[in-house]
Symmetry: C2
Subunit: 307 residues, 2 copies
């Protein structure tokens, strides 16, 4: 039986000023998924973890993505079987559904002799994101597939721009609270002040330039969000204190990962990222919320074939 | 008598998607200004052109900028005399007032032994822009002083980021009509749809990445403005036809220069920029408006000392 096993990283979307367009791949955590070509029509799903995700392919993020692949290849093969071991907790805000969808399409593409481009894979994986969040968005899928830092210049047509970046270390806090994506979306205003929009695109431009020029100070100055953070940060207990303590500990900046509840802070080196972790712990140890905080990197690798 | 003569280039602000933050310096036209240290207190202005600009320093863009310089140096010298020969027509939309203000502060700084940084010079020159347009904006001044392509990440405090760019040729059309800056500003909405703002900052990010990666196709795809152009382009006769004909002739893209009435089109090479010029001529020859169209480059040089 033809099969392949892949690893798919967690991802951070938005990256403070880049709402809906920027994202990066984390070094950890990584999901594991094995995909097999089968004679059973459609997509069969076997979950090897305890997250109780749907096994009906039409309701499963990876299932929907592979149904889109089957539709695109028009009968060349009959079906796929997915064996999924998720480590990235659904609902944590670091691209759990994107990792499932991206893992599935990259694995299938490998089994099909790599007939799709990365941009086409993003397009196929977005069908999975659509059932997870209600909209075809690529800001987690793109870095999950391409690795590193990515810009979604357009998602229709798909136009993904990999952005070169200097080494960056990431401190991630996952408070064990639930924020429904619908709630996080609902809190956003449909209109924004022109002057705030200008500030935002100035910072987006500064962040892209800072990353490509490897200018940590410019990256830091540009990590400012005057539009989404003021609304969404109210959903995360102690957000302001966490951010200030992280900056005081030497972080370049950071904010809400995707629609939360995880938050991330970027640092120039691992030692600083660990100090940021301690600063976050010292605040969350006093709060009655279970949490998980860890240090990782921005990884150049997206979904990779396990050899 | 201590004196220096400088040349200051015209500039294009906004650059399609980068409203209020992006700009670049043109190879031509260039203003000429001589600045002298004098014993007469304040700023004396001699205009050597026919534009009938104010000679009262408080009402003159270069005058106000040099009064700001005198204020900053607190009595080290008594006054300046400006002898100005403008080539960049006031009100043409290619940074005529910025060129005056930038020329004045760069010349003064040279006479003062270069005691100000470029960022400080931008700050001083903005006093001049303020009396010309009513707001302290730096999107023309920054490229006029730094040369090349610049990002104004912030104007308070001043944070100017030079952006590396590949060779680009510019076709500029100046229709001889008047658009009051107040009218061009008044036509803008105070609020914008979030989805349009997202499209805009995706294109700003794409443009910065395209310039720095020297990717002409990405530059071209990113030169899209969903916010300002739909409102302001109505002020310029035949705008849509001009743009379409320019793209058909091979232009990468383009739009309104600053608040108009000039428009600019970017091309990869001079031959294409000349074809774009012909395409524009063929449209404007049928319109009852006097116009001037020419081909130049994006220049790495900002205000320079004439030796």
């Amino acid at each position: 039986m033809k099969e392949v096993t892949v690893k798919a990283p967690g991802t951070v979307a938005n990256v403070v000023c880049g709402f809906d367009i920027l994202g990066f791949a984390l070094g950890e955590p990584l999901d594991t998924m094995t995909v097999r070509v089968t004679d059973t029509p459609g997509v069969t799903i076997i979950n090897k973890d305890n997250y109780d995700l749907p096994t009906d392919a039409q309701k499963n993020v990876a299932g929907v993505a592979l149904l889109a692949v089957l539709d695109a290849i028009k009968g060349d093969i009959k079906g796929f079987e997915i064996e999924s071991t998720k480590v990235i907790k659904p609902g944590s805000g670091i691209g759990s559904s994107a990792a499932s969808a991206a893992a599935a399409v990259v694995a299938a593409n490998h089994l099909l002799g790599n007939r799709f481009t990365n941009a086409q894979l993003v397009d196929l994986a977005m069908y999975g994101e659509e059932i997870a969040s209600g909209s075809r968005h690529a800001d987690n899928i793109a870095p999950c597939i391409y690795g590193g830092f990515t810009l979604v210049r357009s998602h229709d047509p798909v136009d993904i721009i990999p952005i070169a970046a200097p080494p960056l270390h990431v401190t991630v806090l996952h408070p064990q609270i639930e924020i429904k994506t619908s709630e996080a979306r609902g809190i956003l205003k449909k209109k924004v002040a022109m002057k705030d929009a200008i500030t935002q695109w100035a910072n987006v431009a500064g962040l892209i330039a800072g990353l490509m020029q490897r200018d940590y100070d410019l990256i830091s100055r540009s990590l400012t969000d005057v539009i989404v953070e003021p609304m969404r940060s109210t959903l995360i207990p102690q957000f302001k204190e966490l951010k200030q303590a992280s900056l005081d500990a030497g972080a370049l900046g950071g904010g809400i990962s995707g629609s939360g509840p995880s938050i991330f802070m970027l640092s120039r080196d691992e030692a600083t990222a660990n100090k940021v972790k301690q600063a976050i712990q010292s605040i969350y140890d006093k709060v009655d919320i279970d949490y998980h905080v860890y240090v990782t990197t921005i990884s150049d690798q997206g979904v990779r074939i396990k050899t």
